[in-house]
Symmetry: C2
Subunit: 118 residues, 2 copies
DNA sequence: GCTATATTTAACAACGTTGTTATTTAACAA
DNA sequence: TTGTTAAATAACAACGTTGTTAAATATAGC
């Protein structure tokens, strides 16, 4: 029972180093060394982060001489964003209905007070 | 150095049980027992999933007699969705530019062939 | 106070993640 | 071949996660 793709995507995004790598890749492809440069961790650690991202389908890698350039792959981001949008929207609708309900209550309340004043 | 909020949110979403709990909560508040019902795991396990979601700010919980009703909290979903949309959009722009570039190439190519035919 | 119900906490095992350093592989260049 | 650079793998430690069962806590109702 290996984890489904949403799980793999969210798990990959749940690390600041990996998100920073993706942010960097959003502005163009880069080699492993280039990606490692901003971080205070060893190359093997970066190499593993890249493997996690690749496994999640968030990046793919080419091969040019001794470099393995990484590129962003947007599809899993789309799926995950879709999931979140879906539930966020459902929830906003609930809030809207609650809001409408409270407004209704309020109106009824004012009407009731108006009657009493007569 | 505790993890930032995006990290906490994504980590909380990186579990199918927790996503199913949120999905259930999107249709209204529920008690721990109600939330546990669809799953083949023990109550303490559910209790911990809820603690993870609460810690991530994705739910909050009331107190009614011996029940602790859970409600969805949309704010962290918004932040995380925002992050993903941002990078997804950047990447789509890159793809669009690549697309435009390839179309340009193609046009130039056709023009070149047209010249040769004369 | 006693009992039933809802939920949490404690203690533990199994497993996964993230980092390290040392070693290995691959490709270029002399 | 030999050396250099880029990157991956191996072996390991530290720590976090997810599940378990057993025990504790809190509240309602008699």
């Amino acid at each position: 029972m290996r984890p489904d793709s949403l799980t793999t995507t969210f798990a990959a995004l749940a690390d600041p180093t990996r998100r920073a790598i993706l942010a960097r890749l959003a502005s163009g492809e880069a080699s492993v060394t280039e990606l490692a440069q901003p971080f205070a961790i060893s190359m093997p650690a970066i190499s593993r982060h890249l493997k996690v991202l690749e496994h999640a389908g968030l990046i793919d890698r080419g091969r040019e001489a001794q470099w393995r350039p990484c590129r962003l792959q947007a599809q899993p981001l789309k799926e995950a964003a879709g999931w979140m949008e879906h539930y966020r929207r459902l929830w906003d609708q609930r809030l809207d209905r609650l809001d409408a309900f409270l407004k209704e209550m309020d109106k009824a309340e004012r009407r009731s007070r108006a009657r009493k004043r007569k």
